[in-house]
Amino acid sequence: MKLLTHNLLSSHVRGVGPRGFPLRLQATEVRINPVEFNPDFVARMIPKVEWAALLEAADTVPKEPIEGYEHDEKFLRKMHHVLLEVDVLEGTLQCPESGRLFPISRGIPNMLLSDEETET
């Protein structure tokens, strides 16, 4: 699971609503995958990122996207690395409101809820 994906995921436990984001990430096994750097693609992802959530997951990230980031290769390379190359293979995601834990196994988060837990 890439950090870009973590940035999108939100808990859907019943009653939690928007307080289910972001999920707290606990990684026990991480791999760095080299991914071909595409500055244009990274620049397009930046506006989609929930920055506060990203900061929680990866503390090596600058506090916010800098002005003119589209042309700042150093910044883009750093974001490329954090968003696309860090791969969480094993760990958990925790709903900040309900405490419910979702396991990550072989890089795939399992967010299936039982019937009682899902929102109607």
Binding site: T5, L8, S11, P34, D40, M45, P109, M111
Partner: protein, 503 residues
């Protein structure tokens, strides 16, 4: 899709004429594709085959995604005259296919040989350029992030552009093995042909005839008989030898009431069988067709919330690589299969996987740009899920203006059309009554074999089905195409989200 590249290599100036077979319903997609990808001209669709002319080389031809098989055209002419009762007369008609115009045969074979030679030359150049020494990854993959980061930076600086080198050795090996086998056999085959079809020595060619007969001609001769007749005529005319097991040249003959078509299959393995897909779920041609309607743009977030083995995402990622793809499924085994597929295709870095339920997506509203999915056909659903709750959740997570492209069974499509949940008789009679217009959908070309312009055929086939697709909440149907999946039919339906929910 990239346009035809211009380079200085030897290429037939006027272009060669080809034809493709395509699944029923996919012909308009194929016509559009050959124009876009191969800058094809004189594009016609006649009774199950798409004919076109192009200057493209084998590399570009190989990329066709909505075709079943590709053939170099030797001849296309009026159907054989079978009105006479005499079998002998019909036999000589068949022989005339070969004897009347041997030039056209030799020209086609010469064109075919040129295509293979050009491809062989390019292969050698490519191999020399892209054969970096395999990099050994000494340490365990799974190590502390900080530590690996420093090492990785060094590797990045040394290795430069080639992304193949960056995979771990294990992955490179597995993917390499998988792809190389197919490519090796195609390459060996091509080399054999080039040698055998050498201009002076065309007599060294071995061949096999593959025949299909339908309509009136099939009442007089079986396909095998026609095959034998033509085989003998070819041996007499050109001196080739027959080889049923491993011929250089395969001749494909299709005789029916509308035409007589003769061609040479360009590749041994059908185009529809993808080298990069280890285990196919959905038919690859249909998966690509779905993706081609979805308006995937660079930087988009594309979701398949019922991805199964990931076929749709694989096809999409190969064609539109600069996109963020996520596949989701409830099933452990499907996800494992998808993971394997991604690994074999070398696309693990392009496609993320999640284990979630489509009617309960853990994604914020309006966070997805494009949704493409093959909705499982009825029987595999868990209790309580139905097409409407699925569509509802898809609608929620989609951006306004975003597109949804779905493959729906006839039953799902009917459910959406009728707007209620009462059960509908599923017998085959039940599904065909009162729907004559669907039958019209099946033969956009008509029986007279008129050639169609690309866009009019596309729209015509869509409009019929579109009339039966109502809007769903804020999702407005954009187009709809009936396609054949072999034994059953299905609908490719595209929706667009017009406005936010709650407005």
């Amino acid at each position: 899709m990239a346009a035809v590249p211009t380079d200085s290599g030897s290429r037939p100036a006027a272009g060669a004429r080809f034809f493709c077979t395509a699944g029923r319903g996919l012909e308009p997609f194929l016509m559009r594709e050959v124009r876009a990808r191969l800058a094809a001209t004189q594009v016609e669709y006649i009774s199950g085959k798409v004919f076109f002319t192009t200057c493209s080389d084998l590399n570009m031809l190989k990329k066709l995604k909505s075709a079943e098989r590709l053939f170099l055209l030797i001849k296309k002419q009026f159907p054989l005259n079978v009105s006479s009762v005499s079998k002998g007369k019909i036999l000589s008609e068949i022989q005339r296919l070969i004897n009347d115009d041997p030039e056209s045969w030799l020209n086609a074979i010469s064109t075919w040989k040129n295509l293979l030679e050009l491809d062989a030359k390019k292969d050698k150049l490519f191999q020399r350029a892209a054969n970096p020494p395999k990099r050994k990854v000494e340490e365990n993959d799974i190590i502390n992030a900080k530590k690996l980061k420093t090492k990785q930076l060094q590797v990045l600086q040394e290795s430069g552009e080639c992304s193949l080198e960056k995979q771990t050795e294990e992955e490179t090996q597995e993917q390499g093995d998988f792809l190389t086998e197919r490519e090796k056999s195609q390459e060996a085959f091509q080399n054999d042909v080039v040698k055998a079809a050498d201009a002076k020595n065309q007599k060294n060619l071995t061949f096999r005839v593959s025949c299909r007969c339908s309509g009136a001609i099939a009442k007089t001769f079986t396909a095998q008989e026609v095959g034998r007749i033509t085989g003998i005529a070819l041996m007499k005319q050109f001196g080739w030898k027959a080889d049923l097991r491993n011929p250089n040249l395969e001749i494909f003959i299709h005789l029916n009431d509308i035409y007589s078509v003769v061609g040479i299959p360009v590749f041994r393995i059908p185009l529809a069988s993808r080298a990069y897909i280890k285990t196919a779920g959905l038919r690859s041609t249909i998966a690509w067709a779905l993706a081609s309607l979805a308006e995937i743009q660079a930087g988009a977030f594309v979701l398949d919330p019922m991805c199964g083995l990931g076929t749709i995402l694989l096809e999409a990622a190969k064609e539109w690589p600069d996109v963020y793809y996520v596949g989701a499924d409830v099933s452990d085994s499907q996800l494992l299969g998808a993971y394997d597929n991604l690994k074999a295709a070398g696309l693990k870095n392009k496609i993320e996987l999640l284990q979630v339920s489509v009617i309960d997506l853990p994604l914020p509203s309006e966070s997805v740009d494009v949704i493409i999915s093959d909705i499982p056909f009825g029987k595999k659903f868990k209790l309580g899920e139905d097409i409407k709750s699925i569509l509802q959740e898809m609608e929620r997570v989609l951006h306004v203006g975003g597109a949804i492209v779905l493959l729906l069974s006839e039953e799902h499509h009917r459910r959406l059309k009728d707007g209620d949940q009462s059960s509908i008789p599923l017998s085959s009679e039940g599904s065909h009554t009162g729907e004559p217009s669907i039958k019209k959908c099946l033969k956009p070309g008509g029986k007279t074999g008129t050639s169609e312009t690309v866009s009019s055929s596309f729209e015509a086939s869509s409009q019929e089905c579109l009339d039966k697709t109502p809007p769903f909440g804020s999702l407005v149907p954009v187009e709809c195409h009936k396609v054949s999946l072999g034994r059953t039919d299905a609908f490719i339906c595209k929706y667009r989200k017009l406005h936010s929910l709650g407005l």
